[in-house]
Amino acid sequence: MRRYFLIAIIIAIVAATYLADFFIKKERSFDEVLRLKQENENLRAQIQLLKFNGQNSILNTNFITAKVFSTYPFNIKNKITINAGEKQGIKKSMVATVGENILLGQVTDVFENFSVIQTIFDPAWQLPVRIGKEEINGLFKAGNEPKVILIEKEKQIQTDDIVYSASQEFPYGLKIGEVAEIKETAAGVFKEAVLKMPFNVGELREIKILMTN
């Protein structure tokens, strides 16, 4: 009798896991210090970008704010679930940001009231970027230690130089991070830069989705 009860519970849990849209939301409480830190990073990014571009191309764009409900639990990907979906106008491939000036990622799956975002920390993520005022080209490579590779050796980059998006998929000039360390070898024509990221995915409570038609 006890065994049948156990089997019934297992079947119920498995059905909820694989056949239903149910998932346990792991929304965390809002931390005022973290919010201020993120606001500060966002303003810094805005100032840095205004210095470079003279204007911010995304300031007049519509954003929708969404709460972070859950984070991907394994190392092989880096994704988050948010509480906005089809009903709120979210579509696949829309751009997600922290504040309005820091690139977070892209919407990969959309459900009725939820969406999944692949973040720039995902190991599979690669993105053309530019570095500093000189707009030096590089390729952003995400993962455990985010870095910019394929930087021409003769180009001058410095620590604290801002790294920003230069891909057609995203608005030009969204901040990704800052150069923390430059790695150069005697051989080869390229150097790479290890990045300091302006946020930690685990600390995110609220994000923004850039609304496009």
Binding site: I9, I10, Y18, K26, P73, F74, I76, N144, E145
Partner: protein, 147 residues
């Protein structure tokens, strides 16, 4: 002491910890899989092991819809419950072998390109350390009473 509620609670808590993004030096250990494998040596029967796997799978699910990763996680856990008593070594060593094998299979199926990356080795190392600690904790609770 009743084993199942304690195992249920331990696996549940560690799964929640993992799904909240717990990480050590930027590496997220697979706490749920480690807990399920270590706990499988202390459950009374196959169904209790399956219950722990189902619980961990439900907690780890992070979005609506079907998730391949949770399915692979559950199959690896179920495999560990089935073969744990067929391994010729002491349970402590079998636990570590199953954890290493489980993590390897997980990566081979879901992210083969990451097997040669430092993230795999770091996660494997962390999982083995945590596997030792969790197994030692359960052994301490039920000395000489393992199933």
């Amino acid at each position: 002491m009743r084993k199942l509620p304690i195992l249920f609670l331990s696996v549940g808590l560690l799964s929640f910890l993992q799904s909240f993004g717990f990480s050590i030096f930027g590496v997220k250990p697979n706490l749920a899989l480690v807990a399920v494998i270590a706990a499988s040596f202390f459950v009374a029967n196959f169904w209790q092991g399956l219950l722990l796997i189902a619980l961990a799978g439900l907690i780890l699910k992070f979005a609506p819809g079907f998730e391949k990763e949770i399915m692979i996680f559950s199959l690896i856990g179920a495999g560990a419950v089935i073969i744990k008593n067929r391994l010729p070594w002491h349970q402590f060593l079998s636990n570590l072998t199953l954890i290493a094998l489980g993590i390897l299979i997980f990566y081979v199926i879901l992210a083969p390109n990451l097997i040669l990356s430092p993230i795999f080795l770091k996660e494997l190392f962390l999982n083995l350390i945590l596997g030792i600690l969790i197994f030692a904790f359960f052994s301490f609770l039920w000395q000489n009473k393992t199933a």
